[in-house]
Symmetry: C2
Amino acid sequence: MQQANTPSLWLDRDRVEANIRRMHEHLLGLGVRLRPHLKTCKSMPVAQMMQAAGASCFTVSTLAEARYFHAQGLHDLLYAVGIAPGKLEPCAALMRSGCRLTITLDNLTAASAVAAAARQHAVSYRVLLEIDCDGERAGFAPDTKTLIQAARILDQAGCEVAGVMTHAGGSYHCRDRDCLRRAADNERDTTVLAAQRLRAHGFAAPVVSIGSTPTASFAGDLTGVTEVRPGTYVFQDLVMVGLGVCTADDIAISVLCEVIGHRAEHGELIVDAGWMALSRDPGNSDQDGQCGFGLVCDLAGGLLDGLQVRHVNQEHGVIADHAGRAIDLSAFPVGTRLRILPNHACATAAQYAGYHVMAADQDQNLYWERCSGW
Amino acid sequence: MQQANTPSLWLDRDRVEANIRRMHEHLLGLGVRLRPHLKTCKSMPVAQMMQAAGASCFTVSTLAEARYFHAQGLHDLLYAVGIAPGKLEPCAALMRSGCRLTITLDNLTAASAVAAAARQHAVSYRVLLEIDCDGERAGFAPDTKTLIQAARILDQAGCEVAGVMTHAGGSYHCRDRDCLRRAADNERDTTVLAAQRLRAHGFAAPVVSIGSTPTASFAGDLTGVTEVRPGTYVFQDLVMVGLGVCTADDIAISVLCEVIGHRAEHGELIVDAGWMALSRDPGNSDQDGQCGFGLVCDLAGGLLDGLQVRHVNQEHGVIADHAGRAIDLSAFPVGTRLRILPNHACATAAQYAGYHVMAADQDQNLYWERCSGW
C-alpha cells in the first residue's frame, strides 16, 4: 500500500467474508434463501465467496453483469430492473446460451412486449412481477387489477409467472431501528399479499422476493418470503453505518490516496482522490453531514477522528475537520498516504476497474477485476 | 439509435467540431495558445479533432491519460494535478519514453521531493508552479516567498522552472457575465504577477498558463498569458448553459435511455438511466434546481419542455416535470427512447467506456473508446 498507485480501490477480504457470513446466518435463521445482488461487487471472486457461504442464485442490475457472471459459471440470475422492451432480444440470447434468467416488469405495456417477444423469439421468459411496497420507485400496487392482467398476458404467451418481487427503497430514509423493522414487515406483507392474490387467480407464483440491505438486516420474521436480495451488505458503507446496519469497522472497501498539498490558512489537506476516485454520492449528508464525501483513515484502517472529505473536484479532494477545527498539518505532510471509507459502496466501486485485495493470511498481490457497462 | 443498447453515450461530432472551432478562434483572437484539457473527452479521436483545429499541446488529469495519449502520438502534456511524491517515478518513466511531460506543485515539500527524485532518477522534471488565484483550491499565493523558494529548490536540482499555472475554480460560482469577466481578469493578473516575481528573481518562467471553460470563454484581454487550458468546452454541459457559456444546442454528448415504467399517480416516467449512466453530479442545482440530474430530449435532440431527471438510483432514473405538473404519460409509452443532456460532461462521460458517434454526413456506426483509471 505504501508503494501502490493512487488513487486505488482496496478490498479487505476478511471483512467481506465476515459480512457475507453474517448475512447468510441471519437469513438462514429466518428460513429464506439469499439471492445476493451483485451490482455492488460486480466481481466473480466476490461471488465465489458468496457461493462458498451457500448462495446458488444471484441478482444483477445490468445485462452486462448477467453476461459476465453467466460466462463465469453463474446460471440462476434475476435481472432486477424493470425490463426495457429493447432488451428482450438480448435477454432471449442469454437464455438460449443456458442462463436461467428471470426478468421483472410492473406494467401492462411491458407485459405485452414480453408476450410478443416470447412468441417472436420462441422463448418462455421467466418473470417476477414488481410490487410497489412503499411508493418509492416502481411496481404494481399489490391490490390492483393490472397485476392479475399482466400475469394473464404473460401466461397466455407461454411465459412463466414466477412470482413477485419488491425493493424497499424507502427504508433508506429510516432514522431508527423501529422504522427499519416496520419497513421490513411492510415489505414482507405487501409482497406476500400480492403473491396470494396471484395464487387466488390460479397462478402458482412460487417466488416471493424482497431485498435491500437495511430491511434484510432488520427483518425479524419473513414468513411467506422465499428469497432476499441485499447487495451493499457485502462491502457495507457509511450510509449503512448511518442506518445502524453496521459499524465503520465492517466497511470492506476503501480508497487509497496521497496528500498532495495543504490549505494552510484553512487547516485542510488536499489529496489526489476527487469525485473520479470517490464518486459524488452524497451519502447520508441529508442526515447529519458528518461524512462529507467519505471518512478518513490511516493506512492501518484506523479512523482519524473528525476528518472528512469536504469537497471534491475531478481529481482533487479536500479533507477538513468536521467541526471546523484546523487540522494539525504537520501530522500529514505532503506524501502521506490515507484511506477513505466510501459513502456508497456501489458508487465508489463503480469508479474502478478492479480491487486490490488485502487479507491477514496473504502475502502476494491480488487484483480482482470488475465488470462494467451495460 | 432506435436499435442501440441502453443506456449508452452519444457524441454529436458536428457539435464537437463547432465547440472546438469556436474556442480556437476566440483564443487565437486573444493571441494565446490553446492547451486543451483532455480530462473531459479522454479519447484520441476527439484530441485529433483538436489537433486539426491547431492544438499541438495538451493537458491531462491523470498519468493514465498521459500514458494513453502519449502512446497515441501526443507528446507535449501538462499533468495539471499537484504532483504526489509517489507519482514521480512513473512520471520519470514517461519522460524517458519520450513524453515532454510538465508537472505542477504548490508547496516546498513537493518541490523537495521533485528535486530528490530528479537526482535519484537523473531526470530534469519540467515544472509549472501552481498559483492560487481565488482561494478556491490549491496554489502558492502569488506574492509569497515560498514561491521563489520552491523555484530555487527545483533549479538547484537541475529541474526546469517553466513558469506558473492556475485554475479559476471560483468562476463556477459566478452568476453573471460581469462576474465571469472579473474572474478571467483576476486569473490573468494573478498568474502574470507570479511570473513577473519569478522573472525578477532570475527565473525565465516563460509559461503563464490559465484555464477553465468559463474564464476562457469570457476573457477579453490575456496580455501576459501564454496558454489556456479549458476542458469542458469540447462537449459543453448544463453547468455551462447555467453560466451563460453556451446554449443547450451546443451540448455535444447525451445519454440514450428507454422508458421502462410509469409512476402514474405522480405523472412521472421511469427510465433505465440512473446514476450509473448519468453520474450523481448535482450540476447547477445550487442555482435554480431546474436541471435535476439532466434535461430530457427526444431522439432528434429536441428539448422536452420542463422535463428533468428528478431522482436517480443505480439503474433507475425518474423523469418529472420541473414545475410539478403531471407528465402526459400517453405521450411516452413504455419503450419510448429519450436522450438526457448531462449536468457535467466530465462526470457523465466518465461512466462509459466510449462514445457512439453521430454526424450529419455519416452513415456507418462509429465508436470511439475512452481511457480510464489512474
